[in-house]
Symmetry: C2
DNA sequence: GATATGAACTAAATCGATTTAGCGAATAAA
DNA sequence: TTTATTCGCTAAATCGATTTAGTTCATATC
């Protein structure tokens, strides 16, 4: 049994295809279709279970009512929550979301943009990879609205971006550690050349300097992106060996690294916060449930998703009519959640 | 700047649209297009950044190279991993996956099927909700392959299903508890009328009976699906009050409930496994990292995803040509991971 | 020299919708 | 009675691809 099309309905109802289209799109009144015909068509459509083909509709109208969401990794709790928020938000505006992960690979990101472009999505929300600026410019040139999320390109502000205030978050966290009397504060971050991570690191340096604490570069630990689980864990455990002597606190700059940190303390049986204080950027179920509970800088994920979506919708509404004036990224404030690990 | 279409390429290259189509689809040789023309077209297409419109292609060919994946909740770790596996697997066969969540709501599930159907996906992988059988039959009638995942309808086997062997998993878990000497074994399960959960519960009863352990119905705790976090937690804490006296072990039948169990032991400071032994169906990061580590029955998520995808692809290949003979659900064996909580 | 064969392309139908322009009948205005 | 309007609906173009059935030359065959 084949799917029913608009012409099947037209034939069965004894009217033209156009009439069916008008009725299905609530333009019947405007086109002064008579009450009887409207009812006839609606009945036939219901009986036959007619569902308009969105490919045909999209082809004709140039709108698919779909937006493409590109994140780094959808199985990461942060991005999963973000995706869910965006999807819920999109539904309010009657848009559907298609999402996919880059794994922070430029090549993969380009492929995904390609794929979404071929599928004619109406707009994009993108967590960019380092070299993606060119590709995103092309989308703008094609008049497709784009909103960056979680990351941004400081050198070009033609594209709106929504993210947490990374600098403020890490500054607040570092201040908190300093305020609690810690001086030998180690940092664990992931290798990433992008601005949002530089902002985080910069905040750390600035706060130490502000308090006249000498910066010890051996305390700045950068985990290679492709190190793999075991190697990364090892690097953290090596750092932890100095607990109580060369370091007294560790600030993890990402969620993923913080979880590895927990594995490390578990493996090494380090007393937290006795021997070592712990703080992590970005919350996670585990941090709330672990013993001791882990203090975090919480990102306002829902707010980020909502703001990004609202920005995109705004641009979707008057697409082409006006050019985005360019603006600084929208940076939302994070929240310090003090738990037992400090 | 508008997007480039096939006719733009044709015009610029000075050939017909058909010729461009043949070149782009590697049918140039078969259609004996000359080497020069092929190169000309390829160059023009590359220069202009041509990317075929998949809506048009899908409309014409009737194939979108897309499959719809419907899960219960994409932000749940089990389904997130499953989705990732299926996506990776799909890519091998050159298919793209669109996924969405039902929240176990029949109405929502029907809407999602509708939406995917309108978008002309080629096939479906569905975690069904209780009343979804009719809707799925319609898809079959339209000649769209469907594979059920994680759950199934015992009363109709016309649709292939791939899932863990729930009965065996819970049987093995219960046997393990009994073998360790526990006799007052409580069960915590979620309210769900579907076969896979009934299978889990049935296994519990069967094993107790096999060991001549009297079943105490007060030990069987069913958490209402829409109870909400706090109420569910309360129900588990109420159960835990009997630790050491009326109960000596608790078997959580889902991941989500197990995590609540951890919150409960944390809140109540219960010694595990001293006062109470814990076992959970379906693994989770937290279970591996918590102190004590929690023993689990691990589902073979990757295998389930792969098998489901392979089954779907098989049906996609000869769509329409033959009817699925009908078969029992494919049930894959889970693995008991013994940790410290028993 | 007429005809058949083959090489290298192209025209046009098609998929299923939307949308503009227009047609015939009924009614109103002149 | 003729002309203009309004009503209620339809024909046909269009979106951007794929695909079948030709068409036009050039060459080979008899």
């Amino acid at each position: 049994m084949k799917k029913v099309s608009i012409s099947d309905i037209a034939r069965k109802a004894g009217v033209s295809v156009s009439t069916v289209s008008f009725v299905m799109n609530d333009k019947a009144v405007k086109m002064r279709i008579s009450r009887e015909v409207i009812e006839k068509v609606e009945n036939v459509a219901r009986e036959m279970g007619y569902r308009p083909n969105q490919l045909a509709r999209g082809l004709r109208t140039g709108k698919t009512k779909t937006i493409g969401l590109i994140v780094e990794n959808i199985s990461n709790a942060f991005f999963a929550t973000l995706a869910k928020t965006i999807e819920d938000e999109a539904k309010k505006y009657d848009y559907k979301v298609v999402y996919c992960s880059t794994d922070n690979d430029d090549e993969k990101a380009r492929d995904l943009i390609n794929m979404l472009s071929q599928r004619q999505v109406d707009g994009y929300i993108i967590t960019p990879t380092p070299e993606l600026a060119q590709e995103i410019r092309k989308l703008q040139a094609e008049n497709k609205p784009v909103v960056l999320i979680d990351r941004y390109f400081p050198e070009f502000n033609e594209i709106p971006a929504v993210l947490v205030d990374n600098y403020e978050g890490v500054a607040a966290g570092t201040e908190y550690l300093v305020g609690k009397g810690y001086r030998k504060i180690a940092i664990v971050t992931i290798e990433n050349e992008m601005a949002h991570m530089k902002d985080r690191l910069r905040a750390y340096y600035d706060v130490l300097r502000r308090h006249d604490i000498a910066v010890d570069e051996t305390l700045v630990n950068i985990v290679p992106y492709h190190a793999g689980r075991d190697k990364s864990l090892q690097q953290i455990q090596d750092l932890f060996k100095g607990a109580g002597t060369s370091i007294d606190a560790v600030f993890f700059l990402t969620n993923y690294l913080g979880v590895l940190g927990i594995e490390a303390i578990k493996n090494m049986q380090i007393r937290i916060p006795g021997q070592l204080a712990l703080l992590c950027f970005d919350d996670n179920d585990i941090f709330r449930l672990y013993t001791p509970t882990i203090s975090v800088i919480r990102q306002p994920i829902e707010a980020i998703g909502q703001k990004a979506m609202a920005t995109l919708i705004e641009r979707l509404k008057h697409t082409g009519s006006e050019v985005y004036p360019g603006a600084d990224p929208i940076q939302l404030l994070p929240e310090l959640i003090a738990r037992e690990s400090i």
